[in-house]
């Protein structure tokens, strides 16, 4: 598969303790392990199996993904913003690859 490119939508600013919406997408085929190729052989499973969102080093939200999740996995969730800081998003691939992305947010 081609390189998995993560994309995120996080507000640039928030008021203190505001609960914001975060949206994330990563390009990935999410091969379920249920499909067969032209010759009838099972195409091996290859998915993103774990997603984590941290804020200033502390885990806010995470998700275990199963093969039923669609290609280009999409996740939308909430986070409370107690202070100015950085969100770190991490995706873990079955093949051991780890993809990540960071977003800064300022409390006004």
């Amino acid at each position: 598969m081609s390189t998995s490119k993560p994309r995120v939508k996080v507000p640039k600013t928030a008021s203190k303790d505001e609960v914001i919406q975060i949206k994330t997408l990563i390009s990935h085929t999410m091969e379920s392990g249920q499909r067969k190729d032209d010759k009838g052989n099972v195409i091996p499973r290859s998915i993103i199996n774990k997603f984590t969102c941290e804020f200033n080093g502390k885990t806010v939200f995470s998700c275990d993904l199963e093969p039923a999740i669609s290609a280009n996995p999409y996740l939308e969730f909430s986070a409370k913003v107690p202070e100015t800081g950085t969100f770190k998003f991490t995706w873990v691939d079955d093949d051991g690859s780890v993809y990540s992305s960071e977003s800064k947010i300022t409390v006004e």
Partner: protein
Amino acid sequence: AVLAMTGLPRFASAEDAKVQAAIDAFAGGASIETGTVSLSAPEIAENGNTVPIGVSVDSPMTDADHVTAVMLLAAGNPQPGVATFHFSSMSGSADATTRMRLAKTQDVIALAKTSTGKVFMDRKTVKVTIGGCGG
């Protein structure tokens, strides 16, 4: 067949046993209540390869009382597991949305667990249709 909209599910067939096993493992012996968690999914899927599915749990989301996890199941898929969301008091609000594959008309199930040891469930039938026709 359309399953009952409320109450505890009890399954008979081999595939349904997988669903029951997943529910039992998640609940860990706690009794399962309805309400509090609400599952949102389209009534009819527009594209079985990518069906939006969201959960929202009514919770104060404090350190003392918050939702710790929500498990999503597709009762009619060969492997019922879809995703498990893990929340914290830092989540602020226990809601999350993702997109899933659905091969045929079936129930999707959401189970929520709280830090106080409670388990809640909601379910909804998502129809996968051939399409066509209209007013």
